[in-house]
Amino acid sequence: MKVSEISRAVLGERLKGPGIQLITGPFLFGVQTDIEAVIDGISVLYRDFPLVEKADFVDFHVALKCHAKLFCYFRSQVAVEVDGESPAAPLSLEQAFALFEGTLNWCIYTYAHQYFIIHAAAIERDGLVAILPAPPGSGKSTLCAALVHRGWRLLTDELTLIAPETDQIISFPRPISLKNKSLKVIKEFSPQAVFGPASPNTVKGTIAHVRPPKESVERMGEPSQPAWVVFPKFRAGASTTAQTISKANTLMRVAESSVNYSILGVKGFHVLSHMIAIVDGYEFEYSNLEEAVAWFDSL
């Protein structure tokens, strides 16, 4: 059963009661919440994701609830729990959906060390993957959102997972997080893009999420092969340029972008060096999304 197969009202009842079990890539999340914005976000952005009816085991129990009923009434705060523990301080209720998405990411980069994890977007076409590691503000998510609305499959917007046993990339598609000016940019670039509830006044400004394409969700069980590592950088007014970079440089920069390279030790070095052996690395600067998409399509 998919999220879209139950009504908003029933979804809300379940989330406020026993919770739902949501499959995202290789993970099963148990989710409970009484926050309407989070229920709306799950209803809209996770529409195509499968639910498990009665799971004996879930990877993570995530609960977002009003901090305390009276406190919530006056101060409108939301508290988060993962497996009964609180990984973050309560936030304003208006930031609830951004907190939910950030919590799912937190679960993965804190615990999922069975994978080599890179802080990077990943998109696939014809079985080959472009990995886009980049610090915040580089335009990674904007570029990723543009590409997946022009035929590339979304594997992840934030956390690229590599299976050490196979060196393949494990798809973990989730809503794409955009902020501030990027929201307008993508609304104009892809009028068909569906946005969830906005979370204003976060430390990064206003954040809203774009629903992942249906095909990306339906194919999330398909692993694929890394082929390119592209370090994107948005610079206003820049012409579209791509420069190849050495494998040594690519390796060091991916290592810096990895969440758990040092945790995995020797295994991390083996996974990374296997990947670097088969990928081409590029520095990519852009300001025009149409030109950027054309360059990726030419790979």
């Binding site: 050495s246 040594a248 390796l251 060091m252 290592a255 030790g265 020797v266 060096s273 670097i276």
Partner: protein
């Protein structure tokens, strides 16, 4: 300052090399380094057998076809000192 008479050995290392650029992973520290071909030659020799700076200078001179003079020995001493700071080499003890 590295003594010329000190005998050196390496930590446990893993290697990769693409386009003549050596990359070395230190199994003990978990750190990864891109190093020069000369530094790589020094580490390779120390993996084979512990050596002094003077012995390493002979290898470097032979490998790169230069005279093993005072200048080469001083270069090796500086390089070994850098490698020591990076934790890639250590004084050899029986």
């Amino acid at each position: 300052m590295v003594s010329r008479s000190t005998c050196w050995s390496t930590e446990s290392l893993l290697w990769k090399q693409w386009a003549d650029v050596p990359i070395v992973y230190n199994v003990i520290s978990g750190n990864t380094h891109v190093i020069s071909p000369v530094a790589a030659k020094i580490l390779r020799q120390l993996e084979q057998q512990p050596s002094t700076a003077a012995q390493l200078a002979l290898t470097i001179a032979s490998e790169f076809d230069v005279d093993s003079d005072q200048e080469v020995v001083e270069l090796v001493v500086r390089l070994v000192s850098d490698l020591d700071e990076l934790g890639l080499v250590k004084p050899f003890t029986e």
